[in-house]
């Protein structure tokens, strides 16, 4: 029997029961749609997060106090964690390949200006923060390069904080109060937008040393490093490590590169994507049960036909092939319908909500269609085996 005749024969059988075949394929279609839709959103989310994290450039790394990446028994003398100090940040300016070293302490605080009060994020950072993270100043200037430990009491407003506190009036040289201390406004930043849902503009920037006092902290939350883009990351990390270890007498800090952050996020999202794919897989499985049921019924209904095919020269293997082909066709058609619906929904969602990240992943498209056909194959095995096992004579006599 020619391959295309096998295809035609199975197609004819499927088409001859339009309603029934359609409903059976629908089970698979729902599963495939679910997989395509959910993985597309997962994939879109992944891209979105990566974009969010790389909007400040990829050649950055963060240093946090405390050792978090290795485990084991540390010698007693190194047990205490020394806080990251402003001097540490200053010293790291001289590490190889480092362009900017930005100390950072952050927290929430109440800000008062012209009788208005608002709780904002206070970023107390070094004067190179704006250059390191590509934040632009709209008005005035960013924090001045004072001596790190003796800065003037000045503040720069984020776009939202400025609008909320000052409306459209000129804030420069106005006095504001943050947690009881007075600061002079010297600049306003351009809007930067959100990062993972946090409004980066509802912010007031003050010098790092002021932040340490404001939040009553001994050390910095973080030192952010921007290094030369072409620099080998290993050497950058090694250089920073060397300097900090010399200053602290041990490795009581953690260096996280941008790549590591992305890897961690990526792995979380991967688990998420696999999770939703598994969910779709369950609906595929249910669809498979539907195919199994309908094929079992088909074998019973068409017992005489099987007998006739055997009488006019079809061997058992041919019968088995025809019924397996039918099961796979049902699943395959269902899968393609599911893909089409999935694509349409993703397209509609993207059109209706451009902010909603959804991106079709070709891997999951291929994978879900292949899974659908495979499920058809598995669901058809038993009915096909049953069909092939019929004795031609008894099959012909069946009423």
């Amino acid at each position: 029997m020619l391959a295309r005749d096998i295809a035609r024969f199975t197609l004819r059988s499927v088409v001859s029961h339009r309603m029934r075949s359609g409903l059976t394929a629908l089970g698979i279609a729902v599963g495939v749609t679910a997989v395509v839709l959910l993985t597309s959103i997962g994939e879109g989310l992944n891209r979105y997060v990566v974009e969010q994290f790389t909007q400040f450039g990829t050649s950055t790394l963060a240093i946090n106090p405390g050792k978090a990446t290795t485990f084991g028994i540390s010698p007693g003398v190194l047990n205490s964690v020394r806080p990251l100090s402003l001097e540490d940040a200053e010293a790291l300016e001289r590490a190889p390949y480092v362009l900017h070293s930005v100390p950072a302490v952050s927290g929430s605080a109440s800000v008062e200006a012209r009788g208005r009060e608002r709780t904002v994020n206070v970023f107390s950072v070094g004067p190179e923060f704006d250059q390191a993270f590509k934040f632009n100043v709209r008005l005035g200037s960013f924090l001045p390069p004072d001596e790190l430990d003796r800065p003037r009491a000045v503040a720069v407003l984020g776009a939202t904080a400025y609008e909320e506190l000052f409306g459209t009036t000129n804030p420069l040289n106005d006095r504001i109060r943050i947690g009881g201390d007075r600061y002079r406004v010297i600049g306003v930043m351009e809007p930067k937008g959100d990062m993972l849902g946090i409004d980066l503009d509802d912010t007031v920037y003050i010098p790092a040393a002021s932040g340490l006092m404001l939040f009553n902290r001994e050390g910095l939350h973080e030192i952010d490093i921007l290094y030369e883009e072409t620099a080998p990351v290993d050497e950058v990390v090694a250089g920073i490590s060397r300097i900090l270890m010399a200053r602290h007498g041990g490795e009581d800090f953690t260096i996280t590169t941008q790549q590591q952050m992305l890897d961690v996020l990526g792995s979380i999202l991967d688990v998420l994507t696999i999770g939703v794919a598994a969910l779709g897989g369950i609906s595929l499985l249910v669809g498979g049960v539907g195919i199994f049921t309908i094929m079992t019924i088909a074998v019973r209904e068409r017992t005489k036909e099987i007998g006739l095919l055997r009488a006019v020269g079809a061997a058992r293997t041919r019968i088995s092939q025809l019924f397996l082909g039918e099961a796979m066709l049902l699943a395959g058609v269902g899968g393609i319908a599911g893909l089409a619906v999935g694509f349409a929904i993703v397209a509609a969602v993207t059109l209706a909500f451009p902010a909603m990240p959804a991106r079709i992943s070709p891997l999951y498209v291929v994978l879900s269609e292949a899974t659908a056909v495979l499920i058809g194959l598995i669901a058809g095995l038993l009915p096909a085996h049953k069909a092939a096992g019929l004795e031609p004579l008894e099959a012909l006599r069946t009423e």
């Binding site: 029997m1 009488a311 006019v312 020269g313 079809a314 061997a315 058992r316 041919r318 004579l393 012909l396």
Partner: protein, 227 residues
């Protein structure tokens, strides 16, 4: 040529063993026209199914064209049926979703014949059974006689040496039945061996050789008319 040697076919029915065929010896030459008659349960259908390789003997040997086919495997049996045997059933056994032409084509499709060739052959055969105007009709659009003629077309489309008919007129009125008998007799005159199982003495009487069966044995074997 078909030859049965001491062929038995036993069926287990409950505790009892029924000897549907009981040590049957039979030789059928190419081109013969044979009727098989006998009461219900005498083994005539079993004989036909066995000759048509739809069933296997419990013991004994079946030679089909000098080949021992009593112990062939499933796929070889299927191939033998495909090449050498044409079946006509009482209830036609046409596939309802296929047209007359496609039903006739079916054995050629299963044999892997190229579409152009088989289509031409199927038309030729349908022409021979007088249905060239009904090629695209589905079985439910055809009369009983027409359906049986489609089935005859399907039986001879592979040019088998033997045509086996089990009560071919059982479901037909006498006029359609006569037409069907005339067609298969014409095929026999053209060279095909014809074996008809029937309980209708008028139809059985038309054959040139009459087998009578009783309790699984051939109890009568007469030849009449011109040879």
């Amino acid at each position: 040529m078909m030859r049965l040697e001491q062929v038995c076919r036993d069926f287990q029915v409950g505790d009892q063993v029924v000897h549907a065929l009981d040590h049957v010896d039979l030789v059928i030459q190419a081109g013969e026209y044979i009727s098989v008659m006998g009461p219900s349960g005498s083994g005539k259908s079993t004989l036909l199914n066995l000759l048509g390789l739809l069933d296997r003997p419990t013991s004994g040997t079946y030679w089909l064209s000098d080949k021992d086919v009593s112990a062939l495997g499933d796929s070889e049996l299927a191939e033998q049926r495909q090449r050498n045997i044409g079946f006509i059933f009482q209830s036609f056994h046409l596939l309802p979703r296929l047209s007359a032409l496609e039903n006739v084509e079916l054995p050629l499709v299963l044999a892997g014949a190229p579409p152009k060739e088989r289509r031409a052959r199927a038309r030729e055969v349908l022409d021979a059974v007088g249905l060239s105007a009904r090629l695209d009709h589905r079985p439910d659009q055809l009369s009983g006689g027409e359906r049986q003629r489609v089935a005859i077309g399907r039986a001879i489309v592979m040019r088998p040496g033997v045509l086996l008919a089990d009560e071919p007129t059982g479901n037909l009125d006498s006029k359609s039945g006569d037409e069907v008998i005339e067609i298969i007799e014409q095929l026999n005159r053209d060279g095909i061996s014809l074996l008809v199982v029937t309980h209708d003495p008028d139809i059985g009487g038309r054959a040139r050789r009459h087998l009578v069966m009783h309790d699984g044995r051939i109890v009568g074997d007469e030849r009449t008319g011109l040879q």
